[in-house]
């Protein structure tokens, strides 16, 4: 009762849960243009996940795996029956490929041909992490498939779960559920660090049992996949920025409901991997072009952001593509020999950046 009254007051005054404040991009997340300035850019429309197998990057787009064969352009390598949900390299055993259909296939290594099944009923695999004995999966939502992530956000669901598949028996076991779109996994010793997108946080789940504990909270965007860094720590893809307007719409139940029902999805007021392509998309005040220019600080529903995390999973540096940039919607990344390959799904491009510059704000 008291809680309801307090919520009503909060709603009236815009405080507490009704507050639409978004943390500023500051400190390690101070904006830059590193993603746009990357010298190496390999276009790959629809690119989603990326991994490094035997020293060369492999990327998924739709139902196809691509390999950067000669280092200049993407070549189709394997094609599957269903959309590829996510991929991860397992040492020299090969590449674990999770398909939307529920199959987990090992491709291109010593374990080529082995396969597993995703536990029954999971339709929204968003991320994978592997160890010699197990495969860990994140299921974003119990009700929506992965491409409907915007809908899941608008519904403010928290029905995601984490799973462990034993590589010997192939049996699946649920580690946690009730999560708000878990979208990235990283193994860290005896625990699993995962990103919880709709709660804008990273959390740690002890594999020995226990409840998840927040590692880093109140990120200025929606955190997605995690990838290991070569000298410890990890990389975090932030696939879309938070914005005051979206936070506000999330709290406006009537508008949200009608928007979901009446407005075509590409034109929703919702974060996206790439915005600003159609004039039917919502426009915000700061995004009005002045003297023919879109300001880099303009509020946007999409952006590119890849964050370097230290061993404690705290941000130390970041790579950005701002409102006027062209490397939006970072969904995955993989580091190899001092270079990090970043898949920008929104703009359908993979860029390669130096993983460490040795200068101020260095990624190491």
């Amino acid at each position: 009762m008291i809680g309801a009254v307090l919520r009503a007051i909060d709603n009236l005054t815009g405080r507490g849960d009704a507050a639409v404040t978004v943390p500023a991009l500051d400190g390690a997340l101070r904006p830059n243009r590193r993603l746009d300035e990357a010298r190496t850019r390999w276009p790959l429309p629809g690119v989603d996940a990326i991994a490094v197998l035997f020293g060369s990057p492999v990327a998924s787009a739709g139902t196809t795996l691509y390999r950067l064969a000669d280092g200049t352009a993407w070549q189709p390598w394997r094609k599957f029956d269903g959309r590829i949900a996510c991929i991860a390299a397992i040492g020299d055993e090969g590449l674990a490929v999770v398909l939307e259909t529920g199959d987990i296939l090992i491709e291109g290594g010593s374990s080529e041909g082995r396969s597993y099944r995703v536990p029954e009923g999971l339709r929204c695999i968003t991320a994978i992490a592997t160890s010699p004995t197990a495969i860990f999966l994140a299921n974003g939502s119990a009700t929506n498939p992965a491409p409907d992530w915007q809908l899941d956000l608008m519904q403010r669901n928290a029905s995601g779960s984490l799973w462990r598949i034993d590589r010997d028996s192939g049996k699946g076991r649920r580690l946690a559920d009730g999560l708000a779109w878990p979208a990235g996994l990283a193994l860290d010793g005896n625990s699993l660090v995962f990103s919880e997108a709709w709660k804008h946080r990273l959390a740690r789940l002890p594999l020995t049992g226990g409840e998840p504990v927040a590692v880093h909270s109140d990120l200025p965007g929606y955190p997605g996949r995690l990838a290991p860094a070569e000298d410890g720590g990890a990389w975090l893809a932030i696939f879309a920025p938070r914005s005051q307007l979206v936070e506000f719409v999330l709290r406006e139940r009537a508008y949200k409901t009608r928007m979901i029902a009446e407005v075509p999805r590409p034109f929703w007021i919702a974060p996206s991997l790439r915005s600003g392509r159609s004039f039917y998309e919502p426009l915000q005040g700061g995004s009005v072009k002045q003297l023919g220019l879109l300001k880099p600080w303009a509020p946007a529903l999409s952006a590119g952001l890849c964050v370097r995390l230290d061993r404690g999973f705290q941000p130390t540096a970041s790579l950005h593509s701002r409102a006027d940039g062209d490397t939006h919607g970072v969904t995955d990344m993989a580091e190899h020999q001092g270079r990090v390959f970043i898949a920008a799904s929104g703009d359908g491009v993979v860029v390669a950046c130096d993983a460490g510059t040795g200068e101020e704000g260095s990624l190491r």
């Binding site: 815009g14 639409v20 914005s243 005051q244 307007l245 506000f248 406006e252 009537a254 508008y255 009608r258 928007m259 009446e262 407005v263 075509p264 034109f267 929703w268 007021i269 004039f279 039917y280 998309e281 919502p282 426009l283 915000q284 005040g285 700061g286 995004s287 009005v288 072009k289 002045q290 003297l291 023919g292 879109l294 509020p299």
Partner: protein, 704 residues
């Protein structure tokens, strides 16, 4: 339309939300709380005391109120100038004893006695004024000291003359008339107080002297800096205060005819309570005669009612003290929070549904194309925001810019530019008058003319005040576009009367009919509003029949036609009822049709929000303007249509590379010239098959 939409429509029709905010912008709203308190006091004591509203009770109250109000007015004058006068009670007593002594002991004539009494009070005020005003002593301490000294003088006078006064008799009907007579059905003292209050009100609100007083109280330093003789102003307020107090004492003397040691004791606190309770700020700069009167009535009723209720005198003072405390607290909080309240309630979006937007693909007349791709750019990077462009007989281009200039690009290659005239404000729509002068709507200023000798003249900056609006809509805030009728009358649009130029996004949130179309007649030099409650009226263009013009309503996404002459005079007809974007300027095309600029395109999210005013209102309150949902004005197009509203041609620039924003276009000798309010360029497009001899001035005035 769904049931909830229908309900919403009626809700927003029935309740004029915007009025609350408009009332709060008014200065007189400061009186709201004092009036409420007065009403509460009347209700409470009116019901607690039997016969409260009886004739004898009221008459008695009124007489006392007359004298008391003079004291409060005296205090108000000083407070408004930023000071305080604690000696009002003593001066009142001094006026009383001086008047009685002069009349009954010295047996002066009445006019002489009145003049001397008032002079006596003024002298006390002058002492205060010199000490506080010229010698810059602290007002509080200084007047506290005068309170004591004057009280001492009164006591000395009492000692000497009280017996004589008690024994003497004043043989003058006129003298008793002051205290006991009636004029126009009210006690004379009340009549006089009302007259003095009216004079003070006029002085404070309508005269230079009054403004000086208010300015001094509002900010002494700033007043000094602008050349107001601050010291003299302060001194004069004390003199006036002293004179008014003595006058009150005189009335008291006439009414009661006796001098006692307790006359006027504690009156300064009662008067101060009344003044502050009425809403006169202790900090100065804010106050009026009406506030003083309201406060005086409230306190008078309270004090008298307490006496009649038989409350002991200690409790009476206690109540006064508490009321004073509360009044000061309210004064401070109100001053501090009024603006916050105003900013929270002023923006009041309304239910403004639009029909489903026409498509921009397939066989729609608005289907996308790349016709604007070959636009040549003029003055790229050399002009800041040409909202409108116009060309003269010699092919020179004129365009307004953000810094208030009219810039001229010189034919034939438009490489060179010059500042043709500097007006200030934000030059928007332009047109040529029959004599070749350039007529300009200037946002924030009004309607201006730049003659061929480059002289800038104001044509009009105000129109008739609407009778039933709360905000004063006589001043032009956002004159937008104009056109000239064949008889020389100038019709121009004012986009909104509620916001200034740079606040247009807020008006788009409201989407109410805040705008109007106004006619300026140069023959009689008069300005008249002819159409009201339009939704951001923007472009205006004369049709070819000489009896009507077309006008665009931006947030309503429609173009209509208004007849100002002929058989359909006064009628408005829809021409294009539903556009896929937000219309801006309209201009004539060479083949008798019209060009229309769509400054932006409708987005489904905004169209939905137009049906949900509460959503827009909360958005305006919760999130920063840079984050607001805007109409999409990053992409626009040029539309050609005829008088029947048929769409003949649409020209797009996909991606907005050349023209992110199109607010106007002007055909001239086979080319189309394009302006945009946030662009840094002017576009020039060759039109295929257009009349290469056609110019705007020729079309309007038949010249070559």
């Amino acid at each position: 339309m769904s049931v909830s939409d229908t309900l919403m429509r009626w809700r927003y029709r029935a309740v004029p939300d915007h009025l609350l905010g408009e009332i709060l912008t008014k200065r007189w709203i400061d009186n709201a709380i004092p009036v409420l308190i007065l009403m509460a006091v009347v209700t409470v004591f009116g019901s607690a005391i039997p016969d409260f509203f009886g004739a004898s009770s009221l008459a008695n109250l009124l007489r006392q109120w007359g004298e008391f109000s003079l004291l409060v007015l005296a205090l108000m004058i000083v407070m408004v100038a930023g000071g305080i006068d604690l000696s009002v009670g003593s001066t009142f007593a001094l006026g009383n004893i001086v008047a009685l002594t002069l009349m009954s002991v010295a047996e002066w004539t009445m006019p002489a006695a009145i003049a001397a009494t008032i002079a006596c009070g003024a002298a006390v005020g002058l002492v205060n004024g010199i000490l506080v005003g010229y010698l810059r002593l602290r007002a509080f301490l200084t007047t506290l000291v005068t309170l004591i000294i004057v009280r001492a003088i009164v006591d000395m006078l009492l000692l000497k003359y009280s017996v004589a006064i008690a024994g003497g008799f004043i043989d003058s009907d006129a003298w008793y008339y002051l205290g006991e007579g009636f004029l126009l059905g009210m006690p004379f003292s009340v009549f006089m107080t009302l007259v003095i209050a009216a004079i003070l009100h006029l002085v404070l609100s309508r005269t230079r002297a009054g403004w000086h007083i208010l300015a001094t109280g509002g900010s002494r330093r700033s007043s000094h800096n602008v050349g107001i003789p601050v010291r003299r102003v302060v001194c004069i307020t004390y003199v006036v205060s002293g004179a008014l107090c003595a006058l009150a004492g005189l009335l008291f003397a006439s009414r009661l005819g006796g001098a006692g040691a307790d006359t006027g004791i504690g009156l300064e606190i009662t008067a101060l309570t009344a003044a502050v309770l009425g809403g006169n700020s202790l900090g100065g700069g804010r106050g009026s005669a009406v506030k003083a009167l309201i406060g005086a009535i409230t306190v008078m009723i309270m004090v008298n009612s307490m006496v009649r209720l038989g409350v002991s005198s200690g409790a009476n003072s206690l109540l006064l003290g508490l009321v004073l405390l509360a009044a000061v607290a309210i004064d401070v909080r109100w001053l501090k929070n009024r603006h916050k309240l105003l900013s929270n309630v002023y923006v009041s979006p309304t239910f403004a549904p639009l029909p489903p937007a026409p498509a921009t693909e397939g066989d729609s007349p608005y289907a996308l194309n790349d016709k604007l791709r070959p636009v040549e750019l003029i003055g790229l990077g050399a002009i800041d925001g040409p909202e409108d462009v116009i060309l003269d007989d010699d092919d020179h281009i004129y365009a307004g810019n953000r810094t208030g200039d009219i810039v001229r690009f010189l034919a034939p290659d438009y490489k060179e530019q010059e500042i043709y005239a500097h007006i200030g404000g934000r030059p928007l729509g332009m047109a040529f008058a029959p004599d070749g002068a350039l007529l300009v709507c200037v946002g924030g200023m009004g309607l201006y003319r730049v003659t061929k000798d480059r002289e800038v003249e104001k044509l009009t900056d105000e129109t008739n005040r609407s009778l039933f609006t709360i905000i004063d809509d006589s001043r032009l805030r956002l004159a937008d576009d104009l056109d000239v009728a064949p008889d020389g009358r100038i019709y121009f649009s004012e986009a909104t009367v509620r916001y200034d130029m740079h606040e247009w996004p807020v008006d788009s949130l409201e989407a109410r009919g805040n705008g109007r179309i106004i006619c300026y007649d140069p023959n009689t030099n008069t300005t008249q509003t002819i159409l009201k409650n339009l939704v951001f009226p923007n472009g205006i263009c004369m049709t070819h029949d000489g009896q009507s013009f077309l006008f665009a309503e931006t947030w309503a996404c429609r173009v209509s036609r208004y007849y100002f002459a002929g058989p359909k005079k006064g009628k408005v007809e829809p021409v294009i009822p539903n556009l896929p974007g937000y219309p801006d300027n309209i201009n004539r095309a060479s083949d008798g049709t019209f060009w229309l600029a769509l400054v932006g395109m409708r987005t489904p999210s905004v169209d939905l929000s137009m049906r949900m005013p509460g959503f827009r209102k909360r958005m305006a309150r919760r999130i920063a303007p840079d984050e607001w949902l805007y109409p999409n004005i990053n992409t626009g197009c040029v539309v050609r249509f005829d008088e029947t509203g048929q769409i003949l041609d649409v020209m797009w620039d996909l991606g907005g590379e050349n023209h992110p924003m199109i607010t106007s276009m002007r055909e001239h000798k086979g080319h189309l010239y394009i302006g945009g309010i946030s662009n840094n360029r002017i576009g020039r497009l060759k039109l295929d098959g257009a009349d290469t001899g056609w110019t705007g001035p020729k079309s309007y005035w038949g010249r070559t």
